[in-house]
């Protein structure tokens, strides 16, 4: 069997190419596989109840044909791709799905899934408030609690404090390992390409947490020891935006004179930057997911208790984590990408570009329709952007 014989980067590459391979085996062996959409379902609960959390992505190379029956065409093509694959039976290894009200279409997707995708009978929707204020955290904790109870029914067992603690520690370990993986790109040239990085992370999202951790440890060791390294390029870029679960954009950028050294996307740093803090309980989970994940779907202003809004303070409150990444990874340009019709990210762009301007970081905004083919014209824009960097 392929999986047993390969490890490290080549194993990541194999799983990236066929994401369901390991969970299909586990399911045959009696494990329950729970698909989750976006970053907001607390996966620690899934792992703690002995199930496997599997991050659901779309497929940029598969034309959307079946989804038209259940959605309009003027919504997020990433989420449309997911429901399209679901309708085509491509997620038939899942026992269920959990989604969250990350955005309106994200919520609708879970409902459509429940109504139309028959091979995964369990479905759950978590409501997520859109600010990070204290009452919002309390409300979200209640939502996590009802998810927990629903999942306990499916598991046929109760969630114990001890199991939750163990799961939190394992997932925190995973986050720490991913941050170590990102450290490998702080040097110039970086030791890992962004294409390899995406393959590793997509693979991690397709494995049980302990196996994902093992893969990360192998990759980090392999990369530190290997002789062939990525080459030094003119630009060290940060890529920002919603989900990009595919290597194509990174291949395109790295085919010209640039290395992507860090990102702010939900397949990258956003998913792994924040730990769950002890004591490991539902409130800690609520804080980790609602407050500490930095996704524009949650609005974080500076004026929690102030009546007057200060624009600059607001910008800093929303984006200073990006400033830190720019300094730590020595970034000299930013590519803001978004999938078409994503209001959540689209509204963020003018503010973020302004913030980057004040930091002296040139940026470019590109929009794609979540298909590999649509990327070709983007290449010219990326090249021209690099030419403006001088």
């Amino acid at each position: 069997m392929v999986i047993a014989t390969t490890k490290g980067l080549s194993k990541a590459h194999e799983i990236y190419a066929d994401r369901g391979q390991r969970v299909r085996e586990l399911r045959k062996a009696g494990k329950k596989i729970i698909g989750y959409i976006c970053l907001y379902p607390p996966i620690e609960i899934i792992s703690a109840l002995g199930m496997v959390p599997f991050r659901v992505f779309g497929d940029m190379s598969e034309p959307i044909t079946a989804a038209d029956k259940v959605s309009t065409t003027v919504v997020c093509p990433f989420l449309r791709s997911i429901i399209d694959l679901g309708l085509k039976g491509k997620f038939n290894f899942l026992d269920g799905i959990v989604g969250a009200h990350t955005c309106d279409i994200g919520m609708t997707l879970v409902i459509s899934w429940r109504d139309y995708v028959k091979d995964a009978p369990f479905s759950h929707l978590i409501d997520v408030p859109h600010t990070d204020h204290d009452p919002a955290v309390d409300y979200f904790e209640g939502q996590i609690n009802s998810f927990k109870r629903h999942l306990e029914e499916l598991a046929g067992e109760k969630l114990s404090d001890d199991k939750l603690k163990k799961a939190c520690e394992l997932h925190n370990k995973q986050r720490k390992l991913v941050r170590e993986l990102y450290d490998l790109r702080k040097s110039d040239p970086p030791l890992l390409t962004s294409v390899e990085n995406i393959e590793v992370l997509v693979a991690v999202f397709s494995l049980p947490v302990d196996e994902g951790n093992e893969l990360l440890e192998d990759v980090i060791k392999e990369v530190r020891e290997r002789k062939v390294k990525p080459v030094k390029k003119k630009a060290r870029l940060l890529v920002w935006g919603p989900v990009f679960d595919n290597t194509s954009l990174y291949e395109l950028i790295e085919s010209v004179d640039a290395n992507v050294v860090v990102d702010d996307t939900c397949v990258g740093t956003r998913a792994f930057w924040a730990d769950v803090k002890a004591p490991y309980n539902l409130h800690a989970l609520a804080k980790r997911y609602l407050v500490d994940i930095k996704c524009p779907r949650t609005y974080r202003d500076s004026a929690h208790h102030e009546l007057e809004r200060n624009y600059d303070k607001d910008l800093d409150s929303r984006f200073n984590y990006i400033k830190k990444a720019i300094a730590d990874w020595k970034v000299n340009g930013a590519i803001l990408q978004s999938v078409k019709y994503c209001d959540t990210h689209g509204y963020e762009v003018p503010n973020l570009r302004h913030y980057l301007d004040t930091l002296g970081i040139p940026s470019i905004y590109i929009e794609h329709d979540y298909s590999e083919r649509s990327l070709a014209p983007i290449k010219t824009r990326v090249e021209a952007f690099l030419e403006t960097l001088g």
């Binding site: 070709a376 014209p377 010219t380 030419e387």
Partner: protein, 295 residues
């Protein structure tokens, strides 16, 4: 060690711009002065021989290929010009070409056959840009569709539109829907000049919307094939609210910029001692594949 002497016998530089609709080439001398240019269609049967445009330019300038020190290719087809020394995007090349003709330029608007771009230029350098290259609305193609629908020639269409000051409002910017709208306007008896002027206003509105995202600063230069059309120029000035400058030949700014950048690049290489003087250069077939996956 190669030095400046290597360039003395080859003091000419060329730029070739393979656009979606037209291919253009220019040759400049060591001062960046343009000696000749040629514009030819890129069209299906010409795609495989974009070198023709280069050949024609050489003969027009009376310069043999062996005297060309450096060639830069640009435009959609830039990656497939085998005789080019370097590829530079059309955005940077346009900015350079426009700045060569209008040194004070701050904003350039280029409408090509299948795309529109807005460039912000500072001290002759491209500093920011936006493009519309996903859809034919607001491009030359939109005008072609309108002309086809009305059975008019493009220049004729521009002149007829100048006869009115009361353009109709075309609501749809989608090329296909606008075509239907033109037909329905005709059937309700709206005067032709008003409809045509409305079509130009619709395109200008679309492109100016793009430009406003980058803040329009004067002087504004308007280029691309569409800038040759009198109706389009009037509409652009109306919507922008400021006059626009138009080069004598608005199609060749990209190729001119490419040639000037070729000169800059060659001088830079000579200074660094990296210029390869006696390379064999041949005008091999330029193969242009459109819509190829970016890989």
């Amino acid at each position: 060690m190669p030095g400046m002497d290597d360039l003395t016998s080859r003091l000419y530089f060329a730029g070739i711009d393979i656009g979606s609709t037209m291919s253009k080439a220019t040759i400049v001398d060591a001062d960046g002065k343009m000696l000749a240019y040629v514009v030819g269609p890129t069209g299906a049967q010409h795609r495989l021989r974009a070198n023709k445009v280069m050949e024609d330019t050489l003969s027009k300038a009376g310069v043999p290929l062996s005297d060309i020190a450096y060639i830069v290719s640009t435009g959609y087809g830039r990656v497939n010009v085998p005789f080019a020394d370097k590829q530079i995007t059309e955005l940077t090349c346009h900015a350079r070409g426009v700045a060569a003709l209008f040194p004070d330029v701050k904003t350039a608007i280029d409408i090509g056959g299948q795309d529109a771009k807005v460039l912000k230029i500072k001290n002759g350098r491209l500093v920011d840009f936006l493009t519309n290259d996903k859809c034919a609305a607001g491009t030359g193609r939109f005008l072609e569709v309108a002309a086809e629908t009305l059975g008019l020639d493009l220049n004729e269409m521009g002149n007829i539109s100048l006869q009115t000051d009361t353009p109709v409002k075309i609501n749809s910017l989608c090329t296909i829907f606008a075509q239907q709208e033109i037909i329905s306007r005709l059937s309700t008896g709206e005067p032709l000049p008003d409809i045509l002027a409305g079509v130009y206003i619709a395109i200008a509105t679309r492109v100016v919307k793009l430009a406003r995202q980058l803040k329009v600063e004067v002087p504004v230069v308007f280029t691309g094939g569409v800038a040759k059309n009198a109706g389009m120029v009037k509409a652009m000035e109306t919507v922008l609210g400021v006059p626009v400058l138009i080069p004598e030949e608005p199609l060749i700014t990209g190729a001119l910029g490419a040639a000037i950048l070729a000169r800059d690049e060659a001088f830079k290489l000579v200074q660094r001692g990296e210029y390869q003087a006696h390379r064999e250069k041949k005008l091999t077939e330029a193969r242009v594949d459109f819509g190829e996956k970016a890989k």
